[in-house]
């Protein structure tokens, strides 16, 4: 029992230290002054990163967590400070990212009385958190902090919010800093894998001639990359990943089909249609990969392995399933499987790889794909790639191959524009020795560009690559393909001069306009390590991402390349 004179805020900082928090992102405000004060009065090793907007704090925490696998913390004030975090919390929730969000709150006796900067953030965020707390007693701080970290990081990770009234953080702490958790309702899959179920799955696998492994983000959350590789190599089975699963299996491996789905590779999508067995490990069958769920893998045996029981049967009803941690289940599964006769199947897939490679035209103006491809080559595929959301995101996924876990960071489920800039800052803080490249569109970049100040202040050598087509390009692509090319609300006229903008923050800027300059400028940007740099790439205004499975269409209806101008496409029926 450790007891000393302190207030709630000081106890809070001690608890954060005890949880091993190295980095905290946030913005101060009236209701969190006691906590910011405790950051000074309590000796600690927490690096506090002051952001320019609270959304940035949550995305930075998110990028940090995804890059390191460690939970990250955001600290913001009440009212608008708290509501500004909602997009970031939702983004982390959709992609199962461990995050603790500490929000200040008005004093307890003013709750619900419309006090200055009072918002019911506990209520507002309820649908987008894994769990949340409204702190009512100063002495509860250690228990709740401990529970919050445990919940955020175990099972299927997610964000946990703790709302802290000012009187609670300022109140005298007389409790126990090592208080025990009390969460009897929190269920985690038991440590022991159900071997009967795994045997049943192995039997199904051993009957297959055209197996396909689908690896999701869950592989990396669980740290099951080695076990996955062993399974694929034992079976001699091909592996495709989801977008967020990039890095779960080396994309340069001969058994890799890269990622699948709406803008995934044609050969991965064709493989999904032709396989006789699909082994999904750690993916939630997101609508981006299903096309029309009624016809997804109609003739294949489907196996689903997931840590979250609520994902089993949510989108696709599997023939066999196992609820458990990916690494534990795969370790057991690997004991029961043997090499399959997949020579013919791999030959077919190889044929598709050759026939339908990812490609782009080198002629004409500057292309996003060209810039990304050059970054891939010159960084030798070793960089941590962070993307924003849109066309550039899909091309970054296609042309920057990922061989290592946690090296491709992107807002998948939420599709949050504005994610790229702050998330890359968080990633760089978590991985100071790695090259971090942020691929952003001009649209998303402007949503959170104020955080350039944060990058400059901490002298972080992030490469901010603005793939600037002066359009909200993905929506423009849909309008071109499905809405008679009627372009509405997509032209970003009035963009700033991004290089001048960077320079105004004291950040090195490069302009890239001609395809002939790509190599030289990418090389210079990668070599620049005195702080952040920004590369404004004036790319062709109109270009479309292919392959494309129109939302809600069957995977078989995939457009592998630009349809002929006279082809009329129906409006997609699936979600966005």
């Amino acid at each position: 029992m450790e007891k000393m004179e302190m207030d709630g805020a000081q106890a809070l900082i001690r608890c954060l230290e005890a949880e091993g928090v190295e980095c905290m992102f946030g913005l101060s405000g009236g209701s969190v002054i006691p906590i910011f004060d405790a950051l000074i009065t309590v000796p600690n090793n927490i690096k506090f990163v002051l952001v320019r907007h609270e959304q940035g704090a949550t995305h930075m925490a998110d990028g940090y967590a995804r890059a390191t696998g460690k939970p990250a913390v955001a600290l913001v004030t009440s009212g608008p400070g708290a509501t500004n975090t909602i997009t970031g919390i939702m983004t982390a929730h959709m992609d199962s990212v461990p995050m603790i969000v500490l929000t200040g709150q008005s004093v307890s006796w003013m709750l619900g009385k419309d006090a200055f900067q009072e918002a019911d953030i506990f209520g507002i965020t309820m649908p987008v958190v894994k769990h949340s707390y409204l702190l009512k007693e100063t002495n509860d701080i250690p228990r709740i902090l401990h529970e919050a970290f445990h919940i955020a990081t175990t099972g299927r990770p997610g964000p946990v919010l703790i709302d802290i009234p000012k009187d609670v953080s300022a109140g005298t702490f007389t409790g126990d800093l090592c208080a025990e958790m009390d969460i009897p309702g929190y269920k985690l899959p038991h440590g022991e894998v159900d071997t009967g179920t795994v045997r049943e799955i192995a039997e199904a696998i051993n009957k297959s001639q055209r197996p396909l492994i689908l690896a999701g983000h869950g592989i990396m959350i669980s740290g099951a990359e080695a076990e996955l590789k062993q399974l694929a190599e034992t079976l001699n089975a091909p592996v495709t990943t989801t977008l967020l699963g990039k890095g779960a299996f080396p994309e340069t491996h001969e058994l890799s089909l890269s990622w699948l789905g709406m803008h995934g590779t044609a050969y991965a999508n064709k493989a999904i249609c032709a396989c006789d067995l699909l082994i999904n490990i750690g993916s939630r069958f997101d609508d981006r990969i299903l096309g029309d769920p009624k016809h997804f893998c109609e003739n294949a045996t489907v196996i689903h392995i997931d840590v979250d029981p609520a994902e089993i049967g949510k989108m696709i009803r599997p023939d066999h399933y196992c609820v458990g941690d990916a690494r534990e289940v795969l370790t057991e599964l690997n004991k029961h499987v043997a090499r399959l006769n997949t020579a013919e199947w791999l030959k077919t897939l190889d044929g598709w790889k050759k026939k339908y490679p990812l490609k782009f035209k080198r002629q004409g103006g500057l292309k996003m794909q060209h810039v990304i491809d050059e970054f891939y080559k010159l960084s030798e595929g070793k960089a941590v790639v962070v993307t924003d959301v849109g066309q550039h995101q899909m091309w970054a996924g296609q042309f920057y191959k990922t061989d290592h876990p946690n090296n491709f960071i992107s807002s998948g489920g939420a599709g949050t524009m504005g994610f790229g800039v702050p998330a890359s800052i968080g990633a760089q803080l978590g991985r100071p020795d790695d090259t971090v490249i942020a691929f952003c569109g001009d649209g998303g970049f402007q949503m959170t560009e104020c955080e350039l100040a944060t990058a400059a202040l901490h002298n972080l050598p992030v490469k901010f690559v603005v793939l600037n087509n002066h359009y909200l390009g993905m929506v423009r692509q849909w309008q071109t393909l499905f809405y008679g090319d009627r372009r509405s609300g997509v032209d970003l006229e009035g963009n700033p001069d991004f290089v001048k903008l960077a320079e105004s923050f004291g950040i090195k800027g490069f302009n890239l306009r001609r395809p002939g300059d790509v190599k030289r400028i990418v090389k210079a940007a990668l070599a620049y390590n005195d702080g952040p740099c920004l590369i404004n790439c004036e790319v062709e205004k109109v270009d479309n991402v292919f392959p494309m499975i129109p939302a809600g269409k069957r995977i078989e209806d995939m457009l592998i390349e630009e349809p002929k101008p006279d082809v009329k496409l129906e409006k997609p029926t699936g979600s966005t």
Partner: protein, 166 residues
Amino acid sequence: MINNKKIHTLSVYVANEPGVLARIAQTFSRRGFNIESLVVSPAIDGHFSRMTIGASGSEAGLEQIIKQVSKLIDVLHCTDHTFDEAVVKEMGLIKIAVSAEDRGEALQIAEHFGCKTVDLTDESIMLQVVGDPDKIDALMEMIEKFKIIEIVRTGKVLMARGAETT
């Protein structure tokens, strides 16, 4: 049955934490499901509560909701008892406008359904009925011939038969 939809009866055992009811209600409303009835009461141990929820909707949709409710940190378990051997009871209070000359008929119906008369004035009667929800529905139909002033029903409470805990 309400509008020919099967009503499912779920029993949810929860930790007594602020917000737990809101979280459960949200899980239903987000998927467009209506909660038809809801009873919350303390369990034996004061730290926990038991909720009995009546809800209608597609089987597959409810199956998903049960999984998502079970996943909530404050929920210890959530079980669908619709097809189980369980005792299901409800209580209702019904206030009807009855003049002195109609009172006899009203009391006859009340007696048939085992109701208690809990309040009586020159113009009205209040009846208390306890039993299976179907029985209360049947009473409602019979009593409709009188002017119903007010109805309050508790919603279903349920307990599985046998020695096991629900």
